[in-house]
């Protein structure tokens, strides 16, 4: 229908124009240099919605090259509709290789999960972050939270953890347990389950966190100390799947999804789709197992 030449342009390699990609890479380097610090960046609009992984896409597209092998997961699964969508988009724009295999990927974009399989120094994990400001729950104003970070004033979040303990008997229940990065900045690990938090500590890979809507990048470089906030006597704990086995593989050492059948009967299955595939096929891939004290 349209023969107007202005509608026949193609897009730049990896969608974003080169100047903006350069800017994002500079900001990423700054984030690497100051672990846990949230670096503001331009965050151009993407053809997918804000809140659907634009921050992750910015990082992925600014880093990806034709030789990269990309894996995209959402809530642990390569199969999630949004993961499929992002994967196809990056493939279309950057012509990189795709994989479901965690070990084979050079670049992994993920939402709300860190893969069970241990990542290496050859890999970058890009996490999509809905709310990069870990202090937003205790202080709603951005100008103030930036000041609190600058002054390492984390009293309010400690009090919140204490109050959660007093009220409920646990430090905090839910995803995205706040972490102390390199002993300096308190940051959000993005809403990953507590199960994944110990994987961030002294890891061999690079963790990048992109929050597109809020226009912030933060980072955990390789071999960086990451400690979940906890008290000396009241410790951080990962999720306990007590007496639960994966209904597909029969294994019990992984983060589990709860599945309801049509008759509302409940069963469990390993959440990480590629890890489940590997477990079913034979020797279990390298995985860090967390001791659950008590």
């Amino acid at each position: 229908m349209i023969e107007v030449p202005k509608f026949q342009e193609s897009f730049n390699y990896a969608y974003i124009d080169e100047f903006t990609k350069k800017e994002i890479r500079r900001k990423t380097l700054k984030a690497v240099a100051v672990p846990g610090y949230q670096v503001p960046y331009s965050s151009p609009e993407m053809p997918i919605s804000r809140g659907w992984g634009t921050g992750g896409l910015h990082l992925t597209l600014s880093l990806v090259g034709p030789d990269d092998v990309l894996k995209v997961i959402d809530q642990g699964s390569d199969a999630s509709v949004n993961a499929c969508n992002l994967r196809l988009f990056v493939k279309k724009m950057a012509n990189c290789a795709l994989t479901f295999d965690t070990a084979e990927a050079t670049l992994i974009q993920t939402r709300h999960r860190v893969p069970e399989e241990i990542l290496t120094e050859k890999q970058i994990l890009v996490l999509q972050v809905p709310q990069p400001e870990v202090l937003r729950g205790v202080e709603r104003h951005e100008a103030k939270t930036r000041m609190m970070h600058a002054e390492a004033d984390y009293a309010k979040i400690w009090v919140t953890l204490y109050e959660a303990y007093v009220r409920s008997g646990a430090l905090r229940s839910g995803a995205g347990h706040p972490i102390m990065v390199n002993g300096r900045y308190v940051a959000t690990p993005s809403p990953i389950p507590s199960w994944d938090v110990p994987n961030l500590n002294m890891a061999r890979c690079l963790y990048l966190f992109g929050a597109g809507r809020e226009k912030r990048i933060h980072c955990i470089p390789p071999f960086t100390r990451v400690e979940p906030l906890e008290f000396e006597d009241i410790r951080f704990k990962v999720e306990e799947f007590i007496g639960i086995k994966c209904s597909v593989s029969g294994q019990d050492k992984a983060f589990m999804d709860q599945i309801y059948a049509d008759d509302f009967s409940r069963s469990w299955v390993i959440n990480d789709s590629n890890f489940l595939d590997k477990v079913r096929q034979g020797p279990r891939p390298p995985q860090r197992l967390f001791a659950n004290p008590e």
């Binding site: 202005k6 969608y15 960046y41 331009s42 151009p44 053809p47 809530q75 499929c84 709300h112 839910g174």
Partner: protein, 390 residues
């Protein structure tokens, strides 16, 4: 290494896309042509360009057609397209005094120099459905235009002209000062190249508001008038028309690159707390000098008067911070009127959250187990939901 459901996800997306097309075409009506949409859905195009932050009527019309008229999606498509374009030049500052005016009104004075020009507006039409529109044809359109032309007496036409501004009256009468506020951050910021940091310079606030969602801005502006603010701005001047855009080329020559249609509102702020304050005047001196007014400035692409007026009111409110009112709070207004971010994030709730939810559920169950073990009777709050940041 296949994971069966992966194929399922991709198939689902493809099928969803097909169904979107099916629901678009299943009425089997004539496709709307791009030019029809561009000209006959003029205000929708204008709104999409403003919120999409890209002045490109044909692209905006295409976006509107593609998304079946959804204004959020249309703006979104334009923004996404815009992000792929390199910024080669910055235009010179637009001078709206050069505007070729199609409409211009002021509500602060009965008569204004150059006169009030009502122009194309629905303000004084009855909002009655008009079935005669169904009989419109190319023939009737031609007849309408030639009749209209016949009504015009060429001898009575004025020469093309530009108009002085109503604020010139304020300046001349000493009711307003050209001076900026003391301590105001006057840097020129680019919100598309840098993330804003608070407090933001006025230029960044104006850019954010010019790109903001019309309805969201209206909500903010309305709240300032209705009880969550202290202002009832007055339209100093509202003008709609075409302004030339110029750039300086690589050899330093000023070049005309085209014209864009804009709506501009200069809202007169109250003489009380909203008054302009000269740095060198004490309170007493200011009183003695008579009332002083300030301007809340609104400007947006195309003809979108609601947006321009509301932007002016909100801009005025933002320059008078007050934690009691949402509209007087920079962070509240600028973050939450941003159309693409708000639209995306509210819709992301449709994404799966089962890991996040599982983490919360397990946390809650663990607490229950612990309490059971201790024999304590403690009510467990719903795990994680309030704190999981998502």
């Amino acid at each position: 290494m296949g994971y069966v459901a992966v194929k399922g996800g991709q198939d689902a997306i493809e099928n969803a896309n097909k169904l979107v097309d099916y629901f678009r075409w299943r009425g089997r009506t004539q496709p709307i042509e791009l030019d029809q949409a561009r000209t006959q859905m003029r205000l929708a195009v204008d709104r999409a360009m403003g919120e999409g932050s890209l002045y490109a009527p044909a692209h905006a019309a295409l976006a509107l057609l593609q998304v079946e008229g959804d204004t959020f999606e249309a703006a979104f498509h334009l923004r996404a397209y815009r992000a792929t374009l390199e910024r080669r030049y910055l235009s010179e500052t637009l001078n709206t005094r050069e505007m070729f005016v199609i409409r211009r009104i002021s509500s602060t004075f009965r008569d204004i120099p150059g006169g009030q020009i009502l122009g194309p507006t629905r303000d004084y039409s009855f909002r009655l459905l008009n079935p005669s529109l169904l009989n419109a044809s190319l023939g009737s359109i031609e007849k309408f235009i030639s009749d209209l032309r016949d009504e015009i007496d060429p001898a009575k036409l004025h020469a093309m002209t530009t108009y002085k501004k109503v604020i010139d009256i304020f300046l001349q009468e000493g009711l307003m000062s050209r001076q900026g506020r003391s301590g105001e951050d006057r840097r020129v910021f680019d919100v598309t190249k840098e993330a804003i940091k608070f407090p933001v310079p006025r230029s960044a606030a104006l850019q954010m508001l010019a790109r903001a969602e019309t309805g969201a801005l209206m909500c903010m502006a309305y709240s300032t008038m209705r009880g969550f603010g202290m202002s009832h701005g007055t339209v100093g001047e509202l003008r709609v028309g075409d302004v030339p855009v110029r750039i300086v080329d690589r050899r330093g020559r000023l070049r005309y690159v085209g014209k864009i249609r804009v709506s501009e509102a200069e809202m007169v702020g109250g003489a009380g707390r909203g008054a302009a304050q000269s740095p060198d005047q004490g309170r007493g001196a200011r009183r003695a000098a008579g009332p002083r007014y300030s301007i809340g400035y609104g400007l947006c692409f195309g003809q979108n008067e609601t947006k321009a007026i509301c932007m002016g009111m909100v801009e005025s409110a933002l320059r008078n911070p007050n934690p009691d009112n949402p509209a007087n709070n920079q962070e509240f207004v600028l973050y939450h009127t941003e159309v693409i971010e708000g639209y995306g994030f509210t819709n992301h709730l449709k994404l799966p959250h089962y890991v996040t939810f599982q983490a919360g559920l397990e946390g809650g169950r663990r607490v229950a187990r612990m309490n059971e073990a201790k024999g304590k009777e403690v009510t467990v709050s719903a795990g994680g939901a309030e704190e999981n940041n998502d």
